[in-house]
């Protein structure tokens, strides 16, 4: 119990002392997770819609692969991306390993199937109806896409929030591809893992509380916009 009390005090102190390292870690965590979520959204939303609305050979197999990828182990993703970005890897010449860019890539690989899967399920359930209504009222293919996005906005929001949650809370992939380098690639989760390893439990718990607080704030903001959207009828 003392740990929790101490860590709560430590969390307050971490945030109120304006420690440069701590704020650097928080900013980098948010940057990496937001960037990967944005890239994953740009890939996952159109892919999910296309998968939900079109029939083609191999769709069932592709769906199964996406569902499987929704629960990809983070360390496997980290390892694969690290191998590809390592000096002897296919993309070694880019020299991205142990940089924030590598962390964004790894998290994008983790988050994209989640967003694709959720959007696919939503468009499978309502997409055909929306498409039919748009078509019978005189809409073209572009109108169908815009209407789908408008009709499924709550589902899209859920997909993005879930993706962001996965990105901000994962540790395995960013640890492997980022290397947890101080002032360079250290993020909240790797900071927690490191302090746990060093026996600094109150520091680890304190950062955990900060992580939870940030997740709560981000989700509250997104939930607020989601509710506003649904109240628009």
């Amino acid at each position: 119990m003392t740990y929790f009390l101490d860590s709560f005090k430590e969390a307050i102190s971490l945030l109120t002392t304006f420690d440069q390292e701590v704020y650097g870690i928080i900013v980098l965590s948010l940057f990496v997770s937001f960037s990967s979520t944005v890239v994953a959204t740009l890939i996952g939303v159109p892919s999910g819609l296309a998968l939900g609305l079109n029939e083609f050979r191999g769709k069932a197999m592709l769906t199964r692969i996406i569902y499987t990828m929704m629960s990809l182990p983070t360390v496997v993703v980290g390892l694969t991306v690290a191998i590809l970005l390592s000096r002897r890897g296919a993309f070694g010449s880019l020299e991205l390993l142990y940089t924030p860019a590598a962390m964004v890539i790894a998290q994008t690989v983790l988050v994209t199937p989640i967003i694709t899967g959720i959007v696919f399920n939503a468009s499978k359930a309502n997409g055909e109806e929306v498409k039919r209504v748009c078509k019978t009222l005189g809409g073209n293919s572009r109108d169908v896409i815009w209407l789908l996005v408008a009709e499924l906005k709550i589902n899209l929001l859920i997909a993005v929030v879930t993706g962001f949650g996965r990105a901000i809370s994962e540790v395995g992939a960013v640890m492997i591809v980022g290397g947890n380098i101080k002032y360079h690639t250290r993020v909240m989760t790797t900071y927690i893992a490191m302090n746990n390893g060093m026996g600094n439990y109150s520091k680890a718990l304190a950062m955990g509380l900060v992580l939870l607080l940030i997740s709560f704030i981000v989700n509250t903001v997104l939930y607020h916009f989601g509710m506003e959207a649904s109240d628009d009828h």
Binding site: E129, V130, R132, V133, T136, L137, G138, G139, D143, H233
Partner: protein, 210 residues
């Protein structure tokens, strides 16, 4: 307006569910489409609406094959219409916005349509909070507001009260210059409302009698 159906077949999983060798619909009147369950009535309307492709043959509208352009004058309302997740007003104005009708004119047309179907009080209500009858009236208003040349109705009055049915029938009767195809299982309604009848059975057009 002329709809010509030539050697049209619709086949699902090796089963022919609709086979119409030749049919020409040329009058701006109300056609009743009747027949037992599974006769192919809904499939028939969906093919004309361009919602499903024909397996064989061709359907043409005013001499041109059905395409994204030609079906802009044809609209379809199902038994359980899907209303967009927005207000009743925004649902009805949607097809006018698709056609880039000036906002003032669109507004006037929507108001007129709501008055005709007696749904002015629902104007700002979320479309997902409506009863079955209200939903059907909003769907009909949304389909009629852009003045289509062909209106396809798939059992629009099933599961709704008699007052709403009477109102919908009155609105349909009042629309001049529009071809309406109306699926119904209600013999009295078909006699009351329809000028001509298409009788389908097991995917074949039997007669134009009922």
């Amino acid at each position: 307006m002329i709809i010509e159906i030539n050697s049209v077949k619709k086949i699902y999983r090796n089963r022919c569910v609709l086979n119409i060798p030749s049919l020409t619909l040329a009058q701006p009147v109300i056609y009743g489409v009747v027949g037992e369950n599974g006769a192919g009535k809904s499939t028939f309307l969906k093919l004309i609406a361009g919602l499903e492709p024909v397996s064989q043959g061709e359907i043409s509208y005013n001499g041109k094959p059905l395409s994204a352009e030609t079906i802009k004058q044809i609209t379809y309302v199902s038994q359980s219409p899907y209303l967009l997740k927005r207000s009743v007003y925004d649902n009805i104005i949607y097809p006018l916005r698709l056609r880039q009708v000036p906002e003032n004119e669109a507004h006037t047309r929507v108001e007129k349509m709501m008055a005709m179907l007696q749904i002015e009080s629902l104007r700002d209500r979320g479309a997902h909070r409506l009863s079955a009858g209200e939903t059907q009236k909003v769907a009909l208003a949304r389909a009629l507001v852009f003045e289509p040349e062909v209106l396809l109705l798939d059992e629009p009055t099933a599961n709704i009260d008699s007052d709403t049915i009477a109102l919908i029938e009155r609105v349909l009767k009042d629309r001049k210059g529009m071809m309406t195809m109306h699926i119904s299982h209600n013999r009295d309604q078909v006699k009351r409302l329809c000028d001509e009848v298409l009788h389908l059975s097991k995917g074949e057009l039997l007669t134009t009698e009922y």
